[in-house]
Amino acid sequence: MIVPILKIGKNLIISIQIPLTDQQARQFQREVLEEVARTEAFGIIIDITAMDVVDSYMARILSETAIDVQLMGARAVIVGIRPEVAVTLVQMGRGLGDVATALNLEQGLAKLEKMDARKGAGHGS
């Protein structure tokens, strides 16, 4: 796996520790969706604390992954977006779309519990 995926209880915790090329980012997306299907996870947390750049390509991969996870009936929250990354994404015009976000892992896990599945990415954000 390009990014290690940990199953903790009923959730998957995915922490992106290294910058990904576009090809690796697509592999990451594929592997997350496969793991959600395989483990029938309740929800996933994608931790991007280590990412110092999120450009339009990576932003798209992240938001698509979250939306696809929700179409599969699970929940998705992205945590650890650095303030300077958030400012840059918003200034570029799109941010991370409607994806649910939280400050850190703990708040992300709390948010998963409160979210409804299958209701689209807009809920719980």
């Binding site: 576009d22 339009s56 840059t88």
Partner: protein, 133 residues
């Protein structure tokens, strides 16, 4: 500080280029948000060079304006197919690759100066400048 130049030949070079520009911007004591804006802009422009022109190069040069304000000037150029309609390419959402179409318009939002020149059949050159705050 000296100008730096590197070839952009593959996807990995997109990551290396943005790490190099961040290092240069940090050494010039740009603030963290501006370092991130520059690294993100470089990520978009070098990706376009790899994706649409197969390869290109990037040049990063510290500059000063008439008021002696310091800045970082970055030129990303390629010898690819060029862009027939620049205005269209600069429109948010326009893409010929099933992308987001946010790379060029997003980059323009991030920097202080943005210039794009392209000739159909002979390549594209994008120049950006960020001034120190």
């Amino acid at each position: 500080m000296e100008a730096r130049k590197m070839a952009i030949l593959r996807e990995e070079d997109v990551i290396l280029a943005r790490q190099l520009v961040r290092k240069m911007a940090a050494d010039m004591t740009f603030n963290l948000v501006d370092q991130t804006r520059l690294a993100t802009a470089v990520s978009e422009l070098t990706r376009n060079a790899v994706e649409y022109a197969r390869s290109g190069d990037i040049r990063m040069e510290p500059v000063k304006n008439r008021l002696r304000r310091e800045g970082l000037k970055i030129v990303v150029s390629d010898n690819g197919p060029g862009i027939a309609d620049i205005e269209q390419a600069m429109t948010m959402g326009f893409t010929t690759s099933n992308g987001l179409g946010a790379g060029l318009p997003g980059t323009r939002q991030l920097v202080d100066e943005f210039d794009i020149r392209s000739t159909s059949g002979s390549g594209t050159t994008v120049t950006i400048v960020m001034w120190k705050r």
